[in-house]
Symmetry: C2
Subunit: 197 residues, 2 copies
């Protein structure tokens, strides 16, 4: 489902190995963070190191692949829970949920950070693109409900998620409080409600 058409003719063992590597990486990253030695992943997956490199040339590729599923899950949540929530509550629900997921999966923070690096240039995983669309809808919905200041953008949400990820990763501080503060900061200011250029 994920393979581009040009690379269709894969050998059966190759496909299986790839799946095994991703599966193992997902577990180990979630538990110990994304700094797990590649050798360990290879051993746990029952393949040689070279095989890991063949499928995932750079470290970031593997991290990305391991995170794909989480992003798909988050997208699903955003569609079913956030887009159908009380008008104006979508973003709040979204940020709190992302926080929960980040807190439960230490490897995901790394995926978010490496995604940052290649911002705009690479096509990235496919879940990512769809997720971006949903976030766009989310923002527009809350804008219409009047709970967001009118200059709020998808880029803001990405920046905030990055900040949130770092806060959770560092383990200190009450990240839920940060979410509350930021959400409050994104509300329209009663004072400048109608002027605005």
């Amino acid at each position: 489902m994920s393979r581009p058409p040009s690379a269709r003719k894969q050998r059966a063992d190759a496909t299986l190995n790839r799946a095994r590597i991703v599966s193992v990486a997902r577990t180990l990253f979630a538990e110990h963070g994304s700094a797990v030695p590649l050798t360990e992943i290879a051993r746990a997956a029952g393949v040689g190191v070279g095989t890991v490199y063949r499928h995932f040339p750079t470290h970031a590729d593997l991290i990305e692949a391991a995170a794909e599923q989480r992003f798909a899950e988050i997208e699903e949540f955003a569609r079913t829970e956030c887009l159908r929530a009380e008008p104006g509550e979508g973003l709040a629900r979204y940020l709190l949920h992302v926080g929960e997921v980040l807190a439960a999966d230490r490897g995901l923070s790394a995926a978010i950070e490496t995604a940052r690096q290649s911002a705009g240039s690479e096509p990235r995983g496919e879940s990512r693109g769809r997720l971006e669309d949903v976030i766009g809808e989310l923002v527009e919905r809350d804008l219409a409900a009047g709970t967001l200041r009118d200059d709020c953008t998808v880029a803001d949400v990405y920046m905030i998620v990055g900040a949130l990820s770092a806060t959770i990763g560092s383990g200190s501080g009450d990240w839920r409080r940060l979410v509350r503060i930021v959400l409050h900061g994104l509300r329209p200011d009663a004072a400048r409600r109608r002027s605005d250029e």
Copy 2:
């Protein structure tokens, strides 16, 4: 000035070497981030690797020592510029200034992150303690001026600086905008002005 009384009898060359190492580390960290090989620092300082380890047993110790001066500078700024600013503008000035410094010194983010790790347990550098005091005054002053919600605390400021540090370090996103959003989020909400609890 920084040495504890018990370790007074240091040999002249040891003191000099220590100073050289810190000086070199400061430059290299600022330029390339804190991931610079220790071998390179040793070479640039004109000492053997063993000497670096003798003075700074852990990597975090060196990062901390290199950052000390910056923290002192930030403290100075906080005292002269923020504590004497327009009432209610102290924290805003502080966060913007810290952002500038972080943007100009790539190594400082690492110092802030490692400071996080050992939060509460270790005595840390001396500038750190004094800085914490100033931030406390800053918060109280803005609270009195009515520009901060009454549950705002020094811990909030630390969490925010951490988030800011990560955002700047990742290089993507408009960190000044994040500061603006957060500051807005820390303003007292007109609606819940007196009830509370």
